[in-house]
């Protein structure tokens, strides 16, 4: 069950990223295309003035769910100068406090967002260009934030049990290996 959620989260954010990129690229091509007399009659009928708006919405959705994914992978950076100096018992307490802070904040935000979305549902407000119902657009706030809160609690639980935090290793980039010898010939020394 949880694994399906993890997988869905990954697929969602990666495909939003790809879709937004293609969307803006196509809209740029379209603008160029309308500048060419030969293509003009075909392209002028297609309106993609909504592309920017859709791109923004896609990225906001990506950001909300991606932030939750980031909690799971430990990509959110904090200041660890002080806590590294503490003795292990205090350190554990402070880190747990930090994680609960995260869970609390995202929960509060999620609840505020949910209230807001429910209010919007009773109106027929729509977004400016796409004319999507606003409540659908804003639904990413409660959904993303609750998911993030849940991820914080998960990390908390794992830390309580094992004392391990997810750690994002910036030096570890797939496809780049640190080889002990020079992987390319650089001529004679």
């Amino acid at each position: 069950m949880l694994r399906i959620l993890d997988r869905l989260e990954e697929i969602l954010i990666a495909s939003l990223m790809a879709a937004a990129t293609i969307l803006i690229f196509v809209s740029v091509l379209h603008r160029f295309g309308t500048g060419i007399p030969f293509l003009y009659p075909y392209l002028i009928g297609i309106h993609i003035s909504w592309a920017q708006e859709l791109c923004i919405y896609m990225f906001i959705w990506m950001a909300k769910f991606g932030a939750a994914y980031g909690v799971r992978t430990g990509i959110h950076v904090g200041v660890d100068v002080l806590i590294n100096q503490l003795n292990p018992r205090w350190q554990k307490a402070v880190i747990l406090f930090g994680l609960f802070g995260g869970a609390f904040f995202t929960f509060v935000v999620g609840t505020m967002g949910a209230k807001f979305v429910i209010e919007l549902m009773s109106t027929d407000q729509v977004s400016p260009d796409l004319e999507l119902p606003s409540w659908i657009v804003y639904a990413c706030i409660p959904l993303g934030s609750y998911l993030m809160s849940f991820r914080f609690l998960q990390v908390c639980w794992a830390y309580w049990k094992t004392g391990e935090l997810p750690h994002h290793d910036a030096t570890n980039i797939d496809g780049l290996e640190v080889s002990p010898t020079a992987p390319i010939s650089l001529g004679e020394a």
Binding site: F25, F59, I83, G101, T171, D174, G175, I184, L186
Partner: protein, 427 residues
């Protein structure tokens, strides 16, 4: 009074090690809830509207382009090219490293990626050719910091968005300082190598140079597309970034063939997660600056500065000290997002150009990347070179001194940053 409370709370929360984004958000929430009458619902709305800006969306696109290129063997080709050009000079591989960092920085826009991509190839190569390990680490970890100054840079976009400064003008303003810093770092490298008689490479023939250039030209073209497109008014910065991402995908998969199509989803996920992390800090930083403005803190500070007759000279000194101190504990994007909305109104009030302030802030955070305790570049270099942090700290000293001199120049000679955008009529 409220300023002291807000910052006190923020620092206390940050020191617990919770993510910076969460500390910002919790500070705002606590303060609004206990001290003000602001309807708390408006906060929820801000979490959405804070990102509702097409300019911000350049960030995920640039990150995607950078992620593709970091994995795509572009770094290797650039190193081969710069080595063929300057390898025969004293400290040749070191100089080639600086030049490769400057070029790669331009296409990746991130200093961490630059250190990893160039360092993982260059450091072992330098050791193999008889350079001391320390020298290699010093060169790469400081040159990697060029990544956030040389355009297109993600941090410059952040500054542009949070202060409403033209991103195009900022990009142009970053060029001269970027080249200048690269030259200064190269000079230090050359001088150390020349004094110690480090090995040189055999001079490459013209034909070899040409081949190396042709191999790496695809990566270099990206800079031309982005900067040329923005300056020529063909795209907005965000569109340029999207085009750059598609272009990067195209060259890594089809031209260099370093990435298989099925690995693309991994790149997407990695870029999406990195962007979300930044966008999440941005959202909370927007909340924070909303609180600042609501409490009129920048305005009060500005008024205070005016009554005290602070000269721009003094003000810039204070800004430098403040940012260098912040650089001890925070990463560049957080510093920028928290400090820019506060410093910007103050600086414009006493007649400092916003573009100059932006470049100044970025050079400050660059220095912060290269010195302990949280010099990110040092940690990454230490991971690659398998050296301890304290040893690396000593190793980077000569280059760090050059960077501090450079910071002084940037601070007090605004024309270094402003000359090019002014020449192009962008400011």
């Amino acid at each position: 009074m409220s300023a002291a409370l807000i910052f006190g709370l923020l620092f206390a929360l940050m020191l617990t090690g919770m993510p910076i984004s969460i500390s910002l958000g919790l500070t705002v929430l606590t303060f609004l809830f206990t001290m003000t009458e602001v309807p708390i619902e408006s906060v929820g709305l801000k979490l959405f509207s804070g990102l509702d800006n097409f300019g911000i969306m350049a960030i995920p696109f640039f990150i995607l382009a950078g992620t593709f290129l970091t994995r795509g063997g572009v770094a290797r080709r650039m190193i081969a090219f710069t080595t063929s050009l300057v390898g025969h000079l004293p400290g040749g591989l070191g100089l080639a490293g600086v030049a490769a960092c400057a070029m790669f920085a331009a296409i990746s826009g991130s200093s961490v990626a630059t250190v990893v991509a160039i360092g993982s190839i260059m450091m072992p190569a330098m050791v193999e050719h008889g350079y001391p390990r320390r020298f290699g680490v010093g060169v790469i970890s400081t040159s990697g910091a060029l990544g956030i100054l040389v355009p297109p840079s993600i941090i410059l976009v952040l500054y542009g968005v949070s202060t409403n400064t033209s991103i195009g003008a900022l990009f142009m303003a970053g060029i001269v300082p970027g080249v200048m810093l690269a030259l200064m770092l190269a000079f230090v490298t050359w001088f150390i190598a020349w004094r110690n008689g480090y090995p040189r490479m055999k001079k490459a023939t013209l034909a070899q140079q040409w081949t190396a250039f042709r191999e790496s030209v695809w990566g270099l073209l990206l800079i031309v597309i982005v900067l040329g497109g923005i300056y020529g008014g063909i795209f907005t910065p965000t569109e340029a970034a999207a085009v750059a991402a598609v272009y990067a995908f195209f060259i890594t998969v089809f031209v260099y063939k370093e990435l298989k199509l099925r690995e693309v989803s991994k790149v997407l996920l990695q870029a999406a997660s990195m962007s979300s992390m930044l966008l999440y800090i941005i959202t909370n930083a927007v909340l924070f600056s909303f609180l600042m403005t609501h409490e009129q803190i920048p305005q009060e500070m500005a008024a205070w500065i005016i009554t005290k007759h602070f000269s721009p000279w003094m003000f810039l000194l204070v800004v430098n000290v403040l940012l260098l101190a912040a650089g001890n504990v925070m990463d560049p994007s957080s510093i920028l997002l928290i400090m820019a909305p506060i410093l910007f109104p103050l600086a414009t009030n006493i007649g400092i150009n916003p573009v100059h302030l932006g470049i100044l802030m970025i050079v400050n955070t660059e220095v912060g990347l290269c010195h302990p305790p949280v010099g990110l570049n040092l940690y990454i270099a230490s991971g690659i070179a398998k050296m301890g942090i304290s040893e690396i700290t000593v190793a980077v000293l000569p280059w760090l001194c050059a960077m501090l001199i450079f910071l002084g120049l940037i601070t007090y000679i605004p024309e270094i940053s402003l000359w090019l955008p002014r020449l192009l009529g962008m400011i």
